[in-house]
Amino acid sequence: MTVEQISEFCVISLAKVLRVSKDRVETDAKFNRLGLDSAMVVYVMMELEEKLGLELSMDDFYDYPTVRELSRYLAEKHAKLSAA
């Protein structure tokens, strides 16, 4: 998957868990600023794990705290996995 596809998937997942419309999830906004609590992080993490076939940790959300940063990181991780 490309960075754009992963980013789009993150936004959909976040909009679902926050129960807001997609256009309200800015890709540069910090997860904290969006109000994501740890239970929500877990939910989004599970969706991403399932979609990408990767294992993630909650720390990834702290190390890459925006949709933009997280999806760039995930795209690299995903590419490595596919190449291996």
């Binding site: 926050l18 129960r19 904290n32 109000g35 609590d37 239970a39 929500m40 877990v42 599970m46 909650m58």
Partner: protein
């Protein structure tokens, strides 16, 4: 069952009669066995710790327990009992949070010892947060167990075993002082209600600093001599199906959770991850610590029916720390009772027949009073007892009700030593602050709360703490002019709303979206809560009483009716 004078005599008995039976197992996040303690090992490790404790603390002194999930907590808890030191379980503060309840608790209980594990002992932020003039840190290391013998005097039944700080706000924490007598009384009441034996394996993910995790699981299993398998709360949150797999693997009989945990299992259900999982051993699926939803029970029973889950195992219950833990519960195998009432009637605190389909609210019964206990429904203003079928405050009396809050005589008098008007039998009643009614058979239905309390995912939050966090974020957010409350969302789950006044002078200098983002971020950081709706209003428009008290329930109603004077159109 034989009666005991304290947890210490019970522990000695277990170590003598079933020394090599496993008492506790701790599962890693991957589900493998990470640590184990037999009853003998538990007794010896606790005695060794008691000897160390007796060097630095006197009987009656307080020790805070600050542990990550694991078995060290249990050694510490029992070590305190042997040394007759009052245990104070603490929630581990998050690194990022600036302010939490720990400061208020430390000031109230004035501990002399802090117990922790080797990994936490080197965490500088914890030492700094709990810094006290006299506080000595002792570390409990399970990898280096030394057998010990402590020849110390036994606790008296009226001695305080531990303090449970689950009620009261950050600024005014209330520590329920639970005696050995209270604890043993409630453990016996729970045993009778659940019908458990030495063979009744428990699987628990609820944290041990939460009374549901500590008493209903860790101590109840120990009380009947059964194995208690523990997993980390976070491991459950991440992979809830692992909880069910552990129930299958250990052929567990008892597993408890607040309502949201059952919902979580349903929403994460994947048939391919649950092949061969058989839940037919599970005879007590206790649902408590937050409102029990009929819809949750139905969904869970349907989803797991083909894994052998018995709907009769569903065991709704009601309790609180002031009553040690359990107040009302079903009977083993009896299933649950539901009652369809009028939603609009309940809003006026009346039990009526629904007007039509849309007006139906299905209440789940939380069982009846336990043995040796009484539940009364009382009109809260005049303290008059109400008959069956009428909604009032739930009052409780029994040997499980604590006699006091630690160092807080006014809260003790109001909350634990209440009297029903016209009944001069000297009974001390606990006022729960919850509203409900009893039906003709004595089944208890909980319908709401008198006090403003936000309960989300089984955790109590005080609205004044959330409001204070919000108001400390920016000078435009007026002090003491906000209201936090919860409303049910589309899925009937409680969700947080914050209404906040904006200073007149700042109105044109600030960006409303920016303010809402600031509040959302601050509240998530401090309270682990998502503020779904942030409503900014004009100064002077928040409903208050003439004496200046914030009217949260009125604010809630006005918001639901869209009648608040909002500064911007609601964007949700």
């Amino acid at each position: 069952m034989q009666t005991f004078s304290s947890l210490v005599t019970l522990l000695a008995k277990r170590a003598e009669t079933q020394p090599d039976d496993p008492a506790y197992l701790f599962l890693s996040d991957r589900g493998t066995e990470e640590a184990a303690l037999t009853f003998r090992e538990l007794y010896e490790a606790a005695q060794a710790l008691a000897v160390r404790l007796a060097r630095v603390a006197r009987p009656g002194d307080r020790a805070i327990l600050v542990f990550p999930p694991g078995l060290e907590f249990l050694v510490a808890f029992f070590g305190c009992q042997i040394a007759r030191v009052v245990a104070v379980p603490m929630m581990v503060p998050r690194r990022q949070s600036a302010r939490d309840a720990s400061g208020g608790i430390m000031a109230n209980c004035e501990p002399v010892v802090a117990l922790t594990n080797p990994a936490f002992a080197i965490r500088g932020d914890l030492q700094a947060r709990f810094a006290g003039e006299q506080l000595q840190w002792l570390s409990v290391d399970l990898t280096n167990l030394e057998p010990g013998r402590a020849d110390l005097p036994l606790p008296d039944p009226q001695d305080i075993a531990f303090l449970q700080y689950t009620s009261g706000s950050t600024s005014d924490p209330k520590g329920v002082a639970v005696s050995h007598a209270n604890l043993l009384a409630n453990l016996e009441m729970i045993r009778v209600s659940l019908g458990t034996t030495q063979q009744s394996t428990y699987v628990n993910w609820v944290p041990l600093y939460h009374d549901m995790g500590l008493i209903l699981n860790a101590l109840e299993a120990f009380y009947v001599g059964a194995l208690c398998v523990l997993m980390a709360p976070n491991a459950f949150m991440q992979r809830p199906l692992n909880w069910l797999r552990a129930i299958h693997h250990y052929r567990a009989e008892v597993a408890c959770s607040p309502n949201f945990g059952f919902d979580l299992c349903v929403s994460r259900y994947r048939a391919d991850q649950m092949q061969d999982v058989d839940l037919s051993s599970w005879t007590i699926a206790l649902n408590g610590a937050e409102p029990v939803h009929a819809e949750t029970i139905k969904r869970f029973s349907e989803t797991f029916a083909h894994h052998g889950f018995d709907p009769g195992a569903v065991f709704p219950a009601y309790g609180m720390a002031e009553a040690t833990l359990l107040i009302a519960g079903s009977q083993r195998g009896a299933g649950h009772v539901t009652h369809a009432v009028s939603r609009s009637g309940l809003q006026a605190h009346a039990v009526r027949t629904p007007l039509d389909e849309a007006d139906v609210q299905t209440l789940v019964g939380c069982g009846r009073a336990l043995i040796n206990e009484r539940i009364a429904i009382v009109e809260p203003e005049g303290s008059v007892r109400l008959p069956a079928g009428q909604v009032g405050e739930i009052w409780v009396s029994g040997p499980n009700v604590a006699r006091s809050y630690w160092q807080n005589p006014s809260a003790t008098k109001a909350g634990l030593n209440a009297a029903i008007a016209g009944e001069d039998d000297g009974t001390n009643w606990l006022r729960t602050g919850d509203l409900g009614f009893l039906d003709e058979t004595g089944e208890l239905f909980v319908t709401g709360r008198i006090k403003d309390l936000v309960i989300i995912r089984g955790i109590n939050h005080y609205p004044q703490d959330i409001e204070h966090t919000a108001q400390s974020l920016h000078p435009a957010l007026r002090q003491n002019c906000g209201a936090a409350f919860s409303v049910p969302d589309e899925q009937d789950e409680e969700t947080l709303v914050i209404v906040q006044e904006i200073e007149r002078t700042e109105r044109n200098r600030i960006d409303l979206d920016e303010m809402a983002g600031l509040i959302r971020e601050g509240v998530t950081g401090e309270h682990e809560l998502f503020a779904r709706h942030i409503v900014l209003i004009r100064p002077g428009t928040l409903p208050k009483t003439t004496s200046g008290k914030i009217q949260r329930s009125l604010t809630r109603r006005l918001w639901l009716e869209r009648r608040l004077d909002e500064l911007a159109a609601r964007a949700d």
